[in-house]
Structures are given as C-alpha cells and as structure tokens.
C-alpha cells in the first residue's frame, strides 16, 4: 500500500462527468479474482484484499449500506461472497487518502462487480453515491463510478439492472452503447427495471435503427403496457438499444431503437 498518491481522474466518455478534482479510486478484491491481476496497471489505486485481516480491518467504512430496507441494504455476507472475493467492489474515496491506515478512509461512491461466466463481462450492481451535492454532481459521480469500474475491470461488457425511473438509465448511453436485455427484470422488485448491457468503448456493438421503435416516459401511466410490448418483442428474439436522450426530449422521455439486422 505504499506510494499511493492522490490523482485527478481523467475525463470520461460522455463528457461532463463532474466531481472534478483529486479523487482516489479504490478496489476491494481478493487475490483470487481476475481483477487482482490487473493491479499493476493501476498503481494509483488503493487496493484492499478482503482475505487479509489487515486490509479487512479497513473495510468497515468502505461498505455499502447493509442495514435498512431489504430493497437497498446489501447483506455483508453477500458483499463478500458475491463481489469482494470473486469480483470486486470499486469506487471513489471521499478524500485523497494515502494509505489503508488513513482514519479518513470513507467512500464517496461504490459499485459491486461480479464476474459473468463470459470472459471480460461483469455484472455491476449496488451502485451507491454518498453526496449531498446537487443532482447534476451526484449523477456525474454515478456514471463516473460505473465507467471507472469498467476501466479497472478491463471489462468489455457489463450488465446492470436499474429502475426505468433511475437517472442512471438516462445517463448510461453517454458512456457507450446500451442494449436492453430485459424490459422488466423478473423478480427484481416492485419498480419496473430493465436489464441493460453496457458495451465497452473498444467492443464492437450493434448498430441502431432510427427512428426509435418506442418512446416513453418512466412516469407515464402507459409504462406497463409499453414494457409488456417491449418484453414480448425481446423474448421473440428482437434486439433493442437505449438511445441517448436528445436535448429536446421533454419530461424524461426515453427512446428505444431496434438493432439493425446487419450484425
């Protein structure tokens, strides 16, 4: 853990991903995980191994909320079993600390990553941002955290599930091509939430057809009917991409385009 210096995170795709200034990234990952072996490529990152007691003792403040409603709290065992050992927990520290012994170790944002069975692919979830700043800044941190995870994991694809009403869904297409794998993820909760796949910048991704096949607002009373149609289309084998909202979109309208058949 020596030689750790504060860094200024570089701009990310999509531009304007705020929270500029010195932010230190951290990774909690075991030596068993694939990501551990990429640490030489990220010497500016604080790496913590949950299998070692000295590091584990520092993890307390770096935990996602594990108390509270069951729809938000992540049980401690699950963080360990599903992310820290097989995958990683990745995020930004609140202050540019210099070592794991720093008493101010505290996270500003984090996301859990579990490998998929396909090389280079991960599932990201439990995105948490601790900021009382304006929504624009919080949104920037969310996206920056996801992108940072993709970067550190060297992921070429990542799946994730967020409610349609989440700002993350609107912002995700600024990071790359986003495919909708499920219109409403079964069992995920009472709020409709798609399963999305974000393609890494260097990964060939499908081409979209314009104009959009669907336009809808997550607040619309017709949402359920639209999602049922989208679900049926996806389950019949058609593919859809989430389009980046254009500046003229009103009321949080989302646009979904079908994938061109040339791939």
């Amino acid at each position: 853990m020596s030689g750790i210096r504060p860094v200024t995170a570089s701009p990310r795709p999509g531009g304007g991903v705020g929270a500029s200034g010195p932010l230190r990234r951290f990774v909690i990952a075991s030596q068993e995980s694939a990501v551990w072996h990429t640490r030489d490529f990220a010497p500016d990152v604080l790496w913590l191994d949950p299998l070692r007691t000295v590091d584990a003792a520092a993890l307390g403040p770096l935990q996602p909320p594990n108390e509270g409603p069951a729809d938000t709290a992540v049980p401690r065992w699950a963080v360990y079993d599903c992310a820290e050992v097989p995958g990683a927990v990745i995020g930004f520290l609140r202050t540019p600390v210099c070592s794991a012994d720093d008493p101010s170790l505290d996270f500003l944002s984090l996301v859990l990553a579990t490998p998929l069975a396909e090389p280079g692919a991960y599932h990201l979830y439990g995105l948490t941002v601790r900021s009382e700043g304006p929504e624009g800044e919080v949104q920037s941190l969310r996206l920056r955290t996801l992108w940072s995870a993709m970067d550190l994991l060297q992921a070429d694809r990542a799946t994730m599930v967020f409610p349609w009403s989440s700002p993350v869904v609107r912002g995700l297409p600024t990071l790359g091509t986003v495919e909708i794998l499920a219109a409403d993820t079964p069992l995920h909760g009472p709020v409709p939430a798609p399963t999305l796949m974000l393609y890494g910048a260097a990964t060939p991704s499908p081409r979209r057809l314009d104009p959009p096949a669907y336009r809808f607002s997550p607040d619309s009373p017709e949402l359920s009917a639209v999602l049922n149609r989208l679900r049926d289309s996806i389950e019949s084998g058609r593919r859809f991409l989430l389009r980046e909202p254009d500046a003229a979109s009103e009321g949080g309208t989302l646009a979904v385009c079908e994938v061109a058949h040339d791939l």
């Binding site: 007691t53 049980p75 992310a83 097989p86 579990t114 396909e118 692919a121 794998l181 069992l187 389950e235």
Partner: protein, 314 residues
C-alpha cells in the same frame, strides 16, 4: 446434441428419483454441462432468469433460500437473488413434480402448485471467479431436514456434485462458518484448503474461506458416501467457538503456511463441535475446464437463442 459426461452416476438413488434443473442466462447454456453426472437436464427444466416465463420458478427458489437460510438470518432479498446469483451465475438443483409430493409437504413449504409443476427441493448457487472453471459457491440449500418424510438423505451432497458438474468447475471457492453443519457436505469432496480462517470482511468473522480442487474421483467418492482418508499425522483440532485458536491459525496462514480442513466436524470431549485441520501442500493449479465433448463433434446443447444471447455472441 447433448454432450458426453464422462462421470455417469445417474443410477444414484436420488438422481433417479429427482429431476435436475438449471437457471442461467440463455447465452450461458453453451458453456454448461447439461448432462451432469449422466443425468440429462430436460429443456423444460432450463430457466432463463431474464425471461418472464421463469418468474414462478424463481419465486420458488427464493422461498427455498428463505426456508433454508432465513432461520440463520442470512436470507437473500429478491433483488440480490437476481444481482448476486441468477444473472451472473448459475443455479442448479433437484426437485420433484408437485403430484409426487405429499400434500402435507407442499403445505409445509407454503407452496400451492399445479400437479405438473416442478418443486425445487435443493439448489446450489455459484458465481464465476476466473475463466474458465473457477467458481465461488455461495449457497447450498436443501429441504432434506424440513421434509424427513421424503427420505432425501444426502441431498445437499448430490446437489453440490451436480452443480459442480453443470458449471464444469475445476476449482471451487467458498466460505462457511466454523460452526456450520455444511462442513459435513463440503468435506465429502476433499480437503478444503484454507484461504482464511478468521474473516473480518465477512459478516461473521468466525468464517473460513476455502478452495476445493474438483475432480471426477472426488465427486464419485462423495456420491458413494465415502470420505477421503484423513491425514492423521499432523492433524489438530479447531473448536468452532475458540476464536483465539482460529485467529492464531489465520496468522499462520498469512505468514504463508498452508492448512486445510481435512474432515467433517466432530463432537469434542466437552461436547462442543470441533473441526480437523492439517498442514497442507497445495496442488498445482488445476487446469482449465475441458471443453464440452460432443459425440459427433457438434456444438453443445443450448437454450433457444435470445436477444441477450446474441448480445454476448454477436
């Protein structure tokens, strides 16, 4: 086409009585062994967690988890069942058709079901660690103890064996408490090389993290009910409640010494459970999982290609 399974244990009594099932994203099926232990997983028993038709069965798996782990205070919220299990990983298990179960048993489980519905009685959940062949098993649920009238002795061991084969697992990591009865099952498959003995990062620090090298012989032996021969020479005992001994063992592990749990827990002289541990020489890293072997060289069996499948295999 269905791939060959070199290890045919399909005549095992539980594998003859029960039906196997698997839950995995549709694009993952080509990587799975769909004839684990020589027992074909029928197409109807292959569920895609992103498909709306799977909801009812997924709900039953959540119920199975709660019946098993709810009393221990470690049940999985539904969203976590998706995010931490079904979507990234593989769930496999064994069940019975509702018509084959006593009505009282269904009532006990809180299931109302049509006669032809598959009722899951046990499942094993694992997520990948490294590609290919290294998995982290984080849930082994069995209703054996809740349903003694079904005489499912050994169900957890068979379920774990099945899961390891479905995933083509060559190396399995896992974590369990020193006091857990699950050690009886895990040690059936061989020595559990200790990665941690004392685990502050887990919710319960008195948790051990282990590595299990998986091979055909160990699986066959586990299903036969035999146990690996104990390494009696250097064996010593760790009492499940002796945190000082557990922490001392952790310190030795972190100094680079290698230890393994080499047998099931036993009752110590004072009646408290204790676990046999021995010095351990790690084997070279297991080779990657062999690719599926198909009798006629055709691609492995797969679920119908979905949009998600094509996304991962453009």
């Amino acid at each position: 086409m269905i791939c060959d399974e070199p290890l045919d244990l399909s005549r095992h009594e539980l594998l003859q009585r029960l039906e196997p099932f698997v839950v995995a994203a549709s694009w993952r099926y080509p990587r799975l062994n769909l004839r684990p232990l020589g027992k074909l997983i029928p197409t109807a028993n292959r569920y895609d967690p992103l498909c709306s038709a799977s909801v009812r069965f997924l709900e039953r798996l959540v119920r199975l988890d709660r019946l098993t782990f709810g009393p221990e205070g470690m049940p999985m919220p539904e969203w976590l069942f998706v995010d931490g299990s079904a979507l990234p990983g593989v769930i496999s298990g064994l069940g019975l058709r509702a018509r084959e179960m006593p009505a009282a048993a269904l009532q006990h489980l809180g299931f109302s079901a049509w006669p032809e519905e598959l009722i899951p009685l046990a499942m094993y959940i694992a997520v990948p660690v490294r590609w290919p062949g290294v998995w982290y098993g984080h849930n082994l649920a069995s209703l054996n103890r809740l349903l003694p009238e079904l005489e499912l002795r050994g169900l957890a061991t068979v379920t774990k064996a099945l899961g390891l084969r479905v995933m083509r697992c060559v190396e399995q990591l896992g974590a369990t408490q020193w006091s857990s009865k699950a050690l009886h099952v895990h040690t059936h498959f061989g020595p559990l090389e200790l990665l941690t003995a004392w685990t502050p990062a887990h919710g319960n620090p008195a948790t051990l993290t282990y590595r299990l090298r998986v091979n055909d012989r160990a699986i066959a032996r586990a299903l036969s009910g035999e146990r690996p021969a104990p390494a009696a020479d250097e064996r010593f005992w760790i009492e499940a409640s002796d945190t000082s001994a557990i922490r001392a063992l952790e310190a030795r592990i972190e100094r680079g010494e290698h230890y393994a749990v080499v047998g099931p827990p036993q009752q110590g002289p004072g009646g408290a459970p204790r676990v046999p541990v021995a010095r351990f020489t790690p084997a070279p890293a297991a080779s990657a999982g062999a690719p599926a072997r198909c009798a006629d060289g055709s691609p492995p069996d797969r679920a119908p290609a979905s949009a998600a499948h094509r996304a991962l295999h453009p």
